[in-house]
Every structure is written in structure tokens, then in C-alpha cells.
């Protein structure tokens, strides 16, 4: 069970570090995606469209 062993600190540091970087990575990926979507929305608002978008959908 947790806390039995002598190495709780190492385990805690390991999981903490992993959690930190993984959540940081997820946060970065999400932030990046949002930024690009905002950019596209702004361009769309400004009326700039893809030429193929007219014929496609």
C-alpha cells in the first residue's frame, strides 16, 4: 500500500514531476490549438476565405 515503503519521497517526486510535465504539455497543446483557431476566426471575420471553400461545401 502507499506509504509502506521507505521510498515514498522518491515515488512522490517521480509522480509529481510526471504530472507537472504532462499537464504542462496538455496545457500547451490546448493553448496552441486555441490560438490558431482564434487566428482563423479573426481571418474569417475579416472576410478572407479560402478559394476552395467557395466551391467545396
Amino acid at each position: 500500500m502507499i506509504g509502506d515503503g521507505m521510498h515514498v519521497e522518491f515515488i512522490a517526486w517521480a509522480y509529481a514531476g510526471v504530472a507537472l510535465l504532462i499537464f504542462g504539455l496538455i496545457g500547451y497543446v490546448v493553448w496552441e490549438a486555441r490560438r490558431v483557431k482564434e487566428r482563423l476566426a479573426a481571418l474569417d471575420k475579416a472576410g478572407i476565405r479560402r478559394r476552395s471553400a467557395e466551391t467545396n461545401s
Binding site: I11, I22, V36, L40, L43, I48
Partner: protein, 254 residues
Amino acid sequence: MSVDTVKQPNWFSRLAHPGQFLNWTRHVVWPLAGATVVAFVVGLWFAFLNSPEDYQMGDMVRVMYVHVPNAWLSQAVYGVMFCAALGTLVWRHPLADVANKAAAPLGAVFTTLALYTGALWGRPTWGTFWEWDGRMTSTLVLLLIYLGIIALWRAFDDQLKAGRIVAIVTLVGALNIPIIKFSVDWWNTLHQPASVFTAEGPRMPASILTPLLAMMLAFTLLFALLQIVRMRTEILRRRADSLSRQAALQGGAK
């Protein structure tokens, strides 16, 4: 060739086309995210609440449950980048360089975590945080290769040109990693005739396998999720870039 007469794309072309990729991945992202969360919950439950200590390693086995998946992914992600590099250079697949660019930072993070958890595992087990053995050194070098590739992507203005060059670098790096591992192992035989620790790591009895596999699955699903999201972002970014360029060319027409 008008729009009517262009032939219907086969499944591979449908996969390859960035627009099609956006279409079918849109329906995949959220289910995949859900599956990832579930996998992590299950994995962590097994890792902490449902498995005993290892008879050999004691409670440090719990560090293994995060170390092994990250170590595996650090190499698997490079494998993905290697295939993507082949796709760029050999087949000129339109999504290949997008895949390579998306994967690089992910691989770098997993490699960093592999080193970090490996160091934490090493300290109580072998007495030192760091050892210049074949494995740790090769993993460190792998991290440097990832970081170099990321830097290279950022240094290019023209991302399409960057794609081919980064593909070459990726392939050269892949060829180099086994050579590095070999040379570092050889180097260690010079300086450490009697290796205290086995390079292969501890054995894996069955009680350990379940949590380990569960965590491996969880991390792999996480990679797949992040990879797909980053690829989508990159495709959309390129769209935005070309639209900006288009707008700039149209000049003050607004």
C-alpha cells in the same frame, strides 16, 4: 480537369489529404480523450491500490510504472518521426512533415520524463542519480536530438522546405542512435569492468505486468491524442498562414 471529372480518391489519398484528415479526426479527438482519462484512472488505481510491492524492488516498483511508459514512448515517438521522415522524402506524403513536426516536442517531453524518473529510480537503487551507462547516455543523446530537431523547425521561415531538411536530420539521427549506444557500451567496458547493475533492468513478474501494461496503454493513448491534436493545429496554422499571405497580397483592397 474540372471538379466533376477528377477521380474519386482512394482511402489512402483520403487519409493523406489534410482536409480529409481534419474531417475524420474531428470525431476522434473527444472519444480518445475520454479513453485516455479512463486508462489513466485504471492505471493509477492498479499502480497504487491494487498491486503489491515487488519482492526485489520494494515500493520503488511504483516508479517503474511511470518510468517504463515514458522510456518506451521516447523511442516509439522517434519511430513515428522516422516513418514520417521516410514519408516526406520517399513518398512526399503531404501529412508526413506535419506528423514529424507535431511529434517532436511530445517525444522531447517523454524523453525528459524518462530521464527524470530514471534518475529518481536510480538513486535509491544504485546509489546515484546519474550514470554514464549505455542506456542513460543514449536517452540523453536522444533528448538532444529531439531538441535539435525542434530548434531546426523553428529556425525555418518556409515550413515546407523545413520538412524535407528535418526529415534528413531525423533519418541521420535514427542511424546514429544505435551507433551511439554501441560506442557508449564499449566505452563502459573500458572504465567499469564489473558492471554493478544490469543494463536490462529488473525482471517483470506477473503482478507487476498488469499495472505496467495499464500505464503503458494510458501513456500511449495520451501520445496518440496529443499527436492528433497537434497535427490538426499545424494543418489549421498552415491554412491561417496562407490566408494571411493571401490577404497581404490583396493589399489595401479592404
